[in-house]
């Protein structure tokens, strides 16, 4: 049996097909048009796995745009999916910190289940969007920011937590002649500190797993470690945790239904463009 997880994030769309393990996965940008075309990413993943859509037992959609997936059987929030995905990869996890394009969240996990969570609201400071804006302003590639910042000898303090004002602060630091790695290290610290303060409301416990696009930035991860006071774990592909969790929850639902002889509740399964926006 095959199970699909679709994680339609604010910035990236992630699709995985699983049986016992991940068979295929595709990560593509979301964007206004791409969201409508989530089924194209699905089709590409099916091609990669060499499977027809009919062979898929269950599809769970999650993330920001979970409602815009007309071929899903069920929608489950990213909180529940992340917790599932992270605990399948790291069974010892007690705290998951997910920093995505537009959201930062902390999830407290016990025995693979969510027992508490926090999320940022409205403001994009302390998320991937913040890094994107600054990378763009500085003319550095998003992917190299983390490594660059590790060369910092004396990181600067970034006082503003607002993306727009922080960008101004960065520009003026650069104009003063501050080395770019010190500015980047300061930025990473600003994000880490903001996320840490939010997640600490849940009382962070070991093991801590960091996921989401920003987990690929070693600078932010190191800064987070300084705050929590011990090493954190990062998954091999931090973008996929939500989609993996979604697929696994679909699997769980299907197997439970089969075991108890209940029919499997399915969605309309239209592998086409989403025509509703709710």
């Amino acid at each position: 049996m095959y199970f699909v997880g679709v994680d339609l994030g604010s910035t990236m769309t992630k699709v995985v097909i699983m049986d016992e393990a991940v068979l295929a996965c595709v990560i593509g940008p979301t964007g206004a048009e791409h969201r409508r075309l989530a089924y194209k990413v699905m089709e590409e993943t099916l091609r990669q796995a060499n499977l027809p859509f009919d062979e898929i037992s269950y599809v769970v959609a999650t993330g920001y745009g979970r409602i815009n997936v007309p071929f899903a059987d069920k929608q489950i929030t990213e909180i529940t999916c992340h917790a599932k995905g992270v605990s399948s990869l790291f069974p010892t996890v007690r705290t998951a910190i997910d920093i995505g394009g537009q959201d930062a969240k902390g999830i407290k996990i016990a025995n693979g289940r969510v027992v508490g969570f926090v999320m940022n609201d409205k403001c994009a400071a302390g998320t991937g969007r913040f890094l994107e804006v600054i990378a763009n302003d500085l003319g550095v590639r998003l992917e190299e920011m983390g490594e660059l910042s590790l060369n910092s000898k004396s990181r600067v303090g970034i006082s503003s937590t607002c993306t727009v004002f922080a960008a101004q602060e960065v520009v003026s630091r650069i104009a003063e002649g501050t080395p770019i790695e010190d500015v980047l290290a300061g930025l990473h610290e600003a994000i880490a500190s903001r996320v840490y303060r939010m997640v600490e409301r849940l009382k962070i416990e070991r093991d801590v797993v960091v996921t989401g696009g920003v987990a690929k930035n070693i600078g932010v991860v190191k800064a987070l470690e300084e705050h929590v006071g011990f090493p954190v774990l990062v998954t091999e592909e931090p973008l996929l945790t939500g989609a993996i969790g979604a697929a696994l929850l679909g699997k769980e639902l299907t197997l439970n239904a089969l075991e108890s002889g209940r029919p499997i509740e399915r969605g309309a399964r239209r592998l086409e463009e989403a025509t509703f926006f709710k």
Binding site: T77, E78, I79, T80, R113, V114, F117, M119, D121
Partner: protein
């Protein structure tokens, strides 16, 4: 004439309609803010009490008079005042409940003219001397209403007003009690409409409406569907259906609340034996469970917490809830100070808690949706 829940819904959608009609017939309407002013005295003076609320619509005028880091509910009320939406009121009573309400009184008085204003000093600690003082304050309010209404409030007519308002509270409790059923015969959204309606009309009409609604919902009307979770909503001012409706749409039954426009307002009655002013003081200062009143800690920290919050836990148990949502309005320091302790207290008692902070305008409703759904998945 609409009946039952339709009656409440119509009033909710056009709250000032009845008050305006009554005014045209020659009655005087007295606005009041918050759950603390004694409606009984307004009724006894032959005046119509009307609860002031805010709105979800954007604040466009009040920001010129109040900083944006003030309570957004009070800012919204003032905004409506400045826009002349409360110009059907003949007067207003403001209680000293929290600092935001206290200070806004002066601004309102200056910029929103009514022919009568009274500022009610409510002490912050329920100590014996405070009750004595507050009883005198209520006497001052009584005299001021007598003068404005051109009537004498006799002990007999005040007792009668207390009786009618006690009946109003008893009816609201009776209606709330029905929500213990699964599924509840009335939704949280409908209950919000009922509260908003009940606080916009004379108490006699309010009682008639509530009797009507109780009859309607207890005799096989199509009530809400049974959902996977039964929730308690805790907070201060919720005077629009949007939030509770969102919670119910996400797949929960809201079955009990601890809100200013909810049980906090009607859970306790005024005693009927003895001095009516003293009895009013006892209820307002002693029985309204609002964090603006500082209750001295008796003994240990646990005893202090029990003293302040055990009634919420009891609500949760009596109404068989499987989760609580704390809906906290940003910059409402009164509730923000208490919220982390309420959360810990309820979690300790095994009741899961979702803590939401809002600016009272529900602009981040999508973000709330994800949190509420995730919370429901968590407690499922």
């Amino acid at each position: 004439m609409a009946k039952g829940l339709d009656w409440a819904k119509r009033l909710y959608e056009n709250r000032s309609q009845r008050a305006k009609e009554l005014r045209e017939e020659g009655n005087k309407v007295i606005g009041y803010i918050c759950a603390f002013p004694p409606r009984e005295l307004i009724t006894a003076a032959g005046l119509v009490p009307y609860r002031i609320t805010g709105t979800l619509e954007p604040i466009t005028e009040a920001d010129a008079y109040l900083e944006t880091l003030m309570c957004p509910y009070v800012r919204s009320c003032l905004d409506l005042g400045i826009k002349k939406r409360y110009d059907f009121l003949d007067g207003m009573i403001w209680p000293h409940t929290c600092d935001n309400i206290q200070k806004t009184f002066d601004i309102w008085k200056h910029y929103v003219p009514h022919s009568y204003f009274h500022y009610l000093d409510v002490p912050h600690m329920p100590d014996p001397s405070s009750f004595e003082f507050f009883t005198k304050e209520l006497d001052v309010l009584k005299e001021s209403l007598e003068e404005f209404g051109g009537v004498k409030i006799t002990e007999e007519c005040l007792k009668e007003a207390i009786g009618v308002h006690n009946e109003n509270r008893a009816l609201l409790r009776q209606l709330t009690g029905l929500r213990k059923q699964a599924p509840p015969p009335i939704s949280g959204t409908e209950m919000t409409q009922v509260m908003m309606a009940a606080m916009s009309i004379p108490v006699y009409e309010s009682n008639e409406m509530l009797k009507n609604i109780i009859e309607e919902v207890s005799t096989g009307k199509d009530g809400p569907q049974e959902k996977t979770a039964r929730l308690l909503v805790y907070g201060c001012e919720i005077d629009d259906i949007a939030f509770i409706n969102l919670v119910e749409e996400c797949g929960a039954n809201v079955v009990i609340d601890d809100l200013c426009m909810g049980t906090r307002d009607y859970w306790k009655d005024v005693a009927t034996e003895g001095d009516p002013l003293k009895n009013l003081a006892d209820r307002i200062l002693g029985e309204i469970m609002c964090p603006r009143t500082f209750r001295r800690s008796p003994g240990t920290r646990q005893q202090d917490l029990d003293n302040r919050f055990s009634y919420i836990r009891d609500f949760a148990q009596e109404f068989n809830v499987n989760g609580t949502i704390l809906y906290i309005i940003r910059y409402c320091d009164t509730f923000e100070f208490d919220a982390p302790e309420v959360r810990d207290y309820l979690e300790e008692a095994g009741i899961p808690v979702l803590y939401l902070e809002d600016d009272y305008s529900l602009t981040s409703i999508q973000g709330f949706k994800t949190r509420i759904q995730a919370f429901l998945e968590m407690i499922e």
